[in-house]
Symmetry: C2
Subunit: 340 residues, 2 copies
DNA sequence: GTTAGCACTCGATGCCTATGAGTGCTAACG
DNA sequence: CGTTAGCACTCATAGGCATCGAGTGCTAAC
């Protein structure tokens, strides 16, 4: 016995219904559907087959059937039609971003909120992580008598910062020269080549051991990948879905959402995939076994790649989630191109 | 009829019990308490009085009594004894901060988590906001052919940044001179005096209208108060308390916690108070009417003040919350003094 | 002023039954 | 042979009802 066309159509109908209502679907419900043209008895037989094939589960004998995670998997892989995002929704996204935003932090927080609003699910956005950047320059900005902000500029124009101690008696011009000197040594290097570059600097700064080691630490630190920025939107929306009516379940999921690091790494794993759908047990986060995660990745300026996703019950409206995510991807790239 | 000593003792006992159990307290429960020495009938009479005075509520006739928010108010104002934080807990706080943290963001996130762990309530920490800062200098760091990062340094050593467009053909030295020039104009001014300062600059930059207006915007922008940084810890812990067993209630509170801006402004209002306790309706946030918020403010380096707090049900362990918050205040100041 | 005693209240708990949505199976049908 | 009508069966759910017991208010005695 295999999944013929009719079985697929019935399965589709069951999924459609269950996604909407969250209550087990009976054979009569399906047979009465427009365009089905089969009696409930026939549907029952087919449903029985679908259950044997592992696509349906039965909570108890006299209830209807609910789709198993395998069914959703089949659905997203073969049955689903992802429509383009309606013009109206696209406008909606852009409207949300209307006032120019400056910090990446603000942008991703906003994106997460918009995603959540439009899908009614919880949304996560991982800020773009630069890929193996090249160093461009270093510049010091004195912020007090003995401390300076070290700004490290990478290819592509993004920056990182660190604080360093500088000699009290150095005039500002001296600091500027130091900037130039350090820049000369590191320019064009990748972080991996940093050790060599700094050796050269060591000679030039022979008279200032302390300053040199300080610098060294700061540069290295700034070059190491930063803690990934993650924005979460609409976490409380999780509680809207009847599957989490049980407070215990809800708590375990919300707790899981709170461990930013774990969540960030899950998203980071999806950065390489243009889009991905992880259903139930496929998400490797404890406490989220009966959720689904739909993600898309995005690439800004050809350099920095990030990912964003939507988290909901396995009974998720996958097609909608994907089209909203796709719309947001476009919007993000566009905003970046405008501003950058 | 007024609140005599015995009534107060009974009220205290009721509060103590209810805080622990979250179930209405009966007269027998109190009368059996160690050191009470009164029969349940007497307690009943007193409880009846306390109810009339507005300190107790009765969910229904045959249930026990629960403290009203007025009772908690009385409790924190007059009955409560705040113990110093046990040595062990203080060590606990410090242990959490063991590895040096660099960004304010990291520190406050960590603080929120520790607070939440130690109190079992939800915690919020507002990053310190500088008070009416004086401008110290401006420096430009070129990040690409036509753009530069403008670093604005304020008295006290904290900084803000903005992106500006700069003429393609200017060499770096030129940018450095520009830094010096702008710095000369704004040094020592407060943000309110900025308009005048920039007028002077306008003359010096007569040949570069575009650059000047750009700069003007950027400086103004950077001087306006930034979006306050807020860290939230243990939001899911809210669901542990039986008062939020109802998912609807839980959702409304978690949604309220998600509106960062509102929460930030509530905390900002508490910055001026060394500590504050807002009970139930006293919190001015929709959706949090039956929560309580306990806050303390903190001051780093005599300049920047922030606030942090703990959010729980009105049936909160106020004394514990206050002592943990107090301990955290000390720890924060100490960490800052060490590092800064 | 305190307390024992007692009738009373009322939510919680548990049990029973009726209900009805839904199933699987069988036999008849085209 | 696939489809369908019919039917007995299952079982979660909801409502009705009696019971229980924690807790109260009141009164009378100490």
């Amino acid at each position: 016995m295999s999944l013929d066309d009719r079985k697929a159509r019935i399965l589709q109908a069951i999924i459609d219904d269950y996604v909407l209502t969250a209550i087990p679907v009976g054979s009569r419900t399906i047979s009465r559907k427009q365009g089905m043209g089969l009696s409930s008895a026939t549907i029952r037989n087919e449903m029985s087959d679908l259950e044997e094939l592992g696509y349906l589960d039965q909570p108890h004998t006299s209830a209807g059937r609910i789709p198993s995670w395998r069914a959703y998997r089949l659905y997203v892989d073969h049955l689903m039609r992802v429509a383009g995002l309606p013009m109206e929704d696209q406008r909606h996204i852009h409207a949300m971003f209307s006032n120019r935003m400056h910090q990446m932090e603000e942008i991703i927080a906003s994106a997460a909120n918009v995603l959540s609003d439009m899908t009614d699910y919880t949304a996560v956005v991982l800020a773009p992580q630069p890929a193996a950047p090249t160093l461009r320059r270093v510049q010091f900005v004195r912020i007090s008598d003995e401390r300076a902000l070290m700004v490290v500029v990478f290819e592509g124009g993004f920056t990182k910062e660190a604080l360093v101690s500088v000699p009290r008696d150095w005039p500002d011009d001296h600091l500027y020269m130091l900037s130039t000197m350090v820049t000369q040594h590191i320019e064009g290097r990748s972080p991996t080549q940093l050790e060599d570059a700094l050796k050269g600097l060591s000679r030039d700064l022979a008279g200032h051991k302390k300053l040199f080691t300080d610098l060294m630490d700061a540069v290295k630190e700034s070059v190491s990948p930063a803690k990934p920025e993650l924005a979460l939107g609409g976490a409380a929306k999780m509680l809207r879905h009847p599957e989490y009516a049980d407070v215990e379940k809800a708590r375990s999921i919300l707790s899981a959402l709170e461990t930013r690091d774990k969540l960030a790494s899950v998203l980071a794993n999806r950065v390489a995939l243009e889009f991905s759908v992880s259903i139930g047990p496929e998400i490797e986060v404890v406490g989220m076994e009966d959720c689904s995660l739909v993600t898309v990745s995005y690439r800004l300026g050809g350099e920095q790649t990030g990912a964003m996703g939507v988290i909901g019950p396995t009974r998720m409206h996958y097609a909608r989630a994907l089209s909203v995510l796709e719309g947001m991807r476009r919007a993000l790239v566009q905003i970046f191109d405008e501003e950058g």
